[in-house]
């Protein structure tokens, strides 16, 4: 950043050390809640509410909270619902996003710039503005209380994102590759499937990973559209069924937070580069 070629070694090292020092409070602040989830999820109730004991102390560990989740509460059902919803919504969004992104990036048609702007604008519409009338539409479609409601509605915020991101990606692919394929007799669609998509794999992975994470983390629609316990997704199930009135069972709650975060954290760890690309796609290319 401030680093300049020709700067002497000491100066350079001093800046670097300073940067590490600056990052220490960030690490503490950003990661402390994760430590706390992990610590609480294995701490017996007796120790958790013992005023004489430091909350950092962990004299013994227990798996009772996880046992409680798996036996008394339908956590596995919520996990399954979350997986189905996230995969379904991501699949639909990618398919629609590929078609829209490609035609906006490559084909010339009346209204294309207008539609590209439209996609960007819908990308910015916050779900918090739409959830009340959407709940009505979902019920009118006969999808109330079913996870299908979420698979159908999540694409409303995922597709604009996917289209926008893939449009940017398709534009970076040299036109000549496609033209060669078409000279060899491929139609538009075949060129898209055989030539463009394989080349765009990194972009597709980014969009997919990011869409998956957004669906997994979605809360408001899932809270609003679904009342029956068996159709809830994990975040909503945990918040709504595990908090009884004013009573918070912190052990099971943190155990559930751990379970609900693990899948996205794992996906994120494996595809970090793609995830960051997806996240900054709007911001950098925007």
């Amino acid at each position: 950043m401030w680093q300049v070629a020709g700067m002497n070694g000491w100066n350079r090292r001093a800046y670097s050390v300073m940067a590490y020092l600056v990052l220490v409070p960030f690490l503490l602040f950003n990661l402390f809640p994760f430590v706390w989830i992990a610590l609480t999820s294995v701490k017996p109730n007796k120790d958790m509410y013992d005023a004489a004991l430091s909350p950092f102390a962990l004299p013994r560990i227990t798996l009772e909270h996880f046992r409680f989740l798996f036996t008394k509460i339908s956590v596995l059902v919520w996990l399954r619902n979350s997986v189905i919803v996230a995969l379904g919504a991501t699949g639909i969004s990618l398919a629609v996003g590929i078609l829209a992104g490609y035609s906006l990036a490559r084909l010339r048609f009346r209204g294309s710039t207008w539609m590209a702007t439209g996609v960007f604008v819908t990308y910015l519409v916050p779900p918090a503005m739409m959830f009340i009338p959407l709940a009505h539409v979902v019920r009118a479609l006969g999808l109330g209380n079913s996870i299908l409601a979420l698979i159908v509605t999540y694409p409303t915020f995922l597709i604009p994102f996917c289209s926008w991101m893939l449009m940017g990606y398709f534009k970076t692919i040299p036109k000549e590759i496609e033209e060669c394929a078409m000279i060899d007799g491929c139609g538009r669609i075949r060129t898209l499937v055989r030539i463009v998509l394989p080349v765009s794999l990194p972009g597709l992975v980014s969009a997919g990973i990011f869409a998956f994470t957004l669906s997994w983390n979605e809360f408001l629609y899932a809270l609003t559209f679904i009342q029956s316990e068996a159709s809830k997704t994990l975040p909503v199930g945990v918040v709504e069924q595990l908090v009884m009135g004013d009573v918070f069972f912190w052990g099971p709650l943190m155990a559930a937070a751990l379970l609900g975060s693990l899948p996205v954290v794992i996906v994120y760890m494996f595809f970090q580069r793609y995830f960051v690309a997806g996240m900054t796609a709007g911001a950098v290319k925007g």
Binding site: A19, F26, S103, M130, V137, T213, V238, V265, Y268, V284
Partner: protein, 345 residues
């Protein structure tokens, strides 16, 4: 194969004497580019059979494009435009769940502007949004500069620093709620142990403190987004620019102000816009941590609309709440588009 054959037949399709669109024709290196713009309105010559016409129609670039745009158009119209119009219509009625309300003009909006809870909500949303976004920008820039400066562990640190933004916010809000706990929460333990506060804070008891607490959680979650996006922006700045500035005698501060910031401007503008919208219409943090309390003092638009529309069932009023700020959203999006167009030009 088909496309090729048909396109070889197309020349007769082009009406004789029609001036070619000069720009498009000269740019157009592809032999297969259709000439849709030129043929529009001119019936194909009679030698083309119905089947061929059908084929031609489905191979026209424009037709293909519309077919490919069809799903997204249906979705946007059905699940965004229609509900939006529905919300606008409801906002002028006294509709409650299960009944079709009657038209009451602007009454919802007028009542809301007189309601103290709604006024409090507007104030909360502005404070929450301005303070959070300002903190996120500042901390995000610091985080990005520091990450850009280090060599060892850079991608590892970048990876774990982004974690707050990756996990479901509903779940991370739960752990914050637990840490804010008066009696057994770890934050108060730390305050007591370090002697900063004898009894610890009542994090969620007073309106001011509760708003501060939700802002802390929002900043915790959002800063990594700024940091990582800005780091991406920093990495596009060519080293030579800094060298030139240094040779001209610019110190670290001036290099930051006159080199780094101008380069970051466009990324910063877009990230700030996104974050402003998300923060303004945030739901989870307040819903989970304060439930709008104490005494409805920490509501944001989304939580107030949820409580009014889905708990109390007053859909008309709830629709008016979420639409109240629509003009603000429109202005923000408009400014953004304007900025982007200028940047592109």
């Amino acid at each position: 194969m088909r496309g090729k054959e048909f396109r070889q037949q197309t020349p007769p399709l082009e009406p004789v004497g029609t001036p070619k669109n000069g720009k498009m024709a000269s740019e157009d290196t592809s032999v297969f580019r259709n000439r849709t713009d030129d043929t529009r309105g001119n019936p194909p010559p009679a030698v083309v059979t119905v089947g061929e016409r059908f084929q031609i129609f489905f191979h026209r670039e424009e037709t293909v494009a519309y077919l490919m745009m069809f799903p997204i158009i249906v979705l946007v119209l059905g699940l965004l435009a229609y509900p939006f119009i529905l919300a606008v219509a409801w906002s002028f009625t006294d509709k409650v769940i299960g009944l079709s309300g009657k038209f009451i003009d602007l009454n919802n909006f007028i009542q809301l502007s007189k309601s103290s809870i709604f006024r409090q909500t507007v104030q909360n949303a502005v404070i929450y949004c301005v303070v959070s976004v300002a903190l996120k920008i500042t901390l995000g820039i610091v985080m990005a500069l520091a990450l850009n400066q280090i060599g060892w562990f850079r991608s590892f640190l970048r990876g774990i620093l982004l974690l707050p933004w990756v996990i479901p916010s509903a779940l991370s809000c739960l752990v914050w709620l637990w840490m804010f706990n008066d009696m057994f929460g770890v934050l108060n333990y730390i305050l007591r142990a370090t002697g900063i506060s004898e009894e610890g804070f009542l994090w969620l008891a007073s309106p001011e403190m509760a708003l501060t607490s939700v802002i802390i959680v929002n900043v915790w979650r959002g800063t990594p987004f700024f940091g990582i996006a800005l780091l991406g922006g920093l990495q596009t700045i060519p080293e030579e620019v800094y060298e030139a500035a240094a040779i001209d005698g610019a110190g670290a501060c001036r290099r930051f102000l006159h080199v780094t910031l101008p380069y970051l401007r466009s990324v910063l503008a877009v990230v700030t816009l996104f974050s402003t919208i998300w923060t303004f219409f945030d739901f989870e943090v307040v819903y989970i941590i304060t439930r709008g309390g104490p005494m409805n003092s920490t509501h944001l638009f989304a939580t107030l609309a949820y409580q009014t529309g889905l708990i109390a069932g007053r859909l008309g009023e709830a629709a008016a709440i979420s639409l109240y700020l629509f003009p603000v959203l429109v202005v923000m999006i408009y400014l953004q588009l304007l900025y982007l167009h200028r940047a592109e030009a």
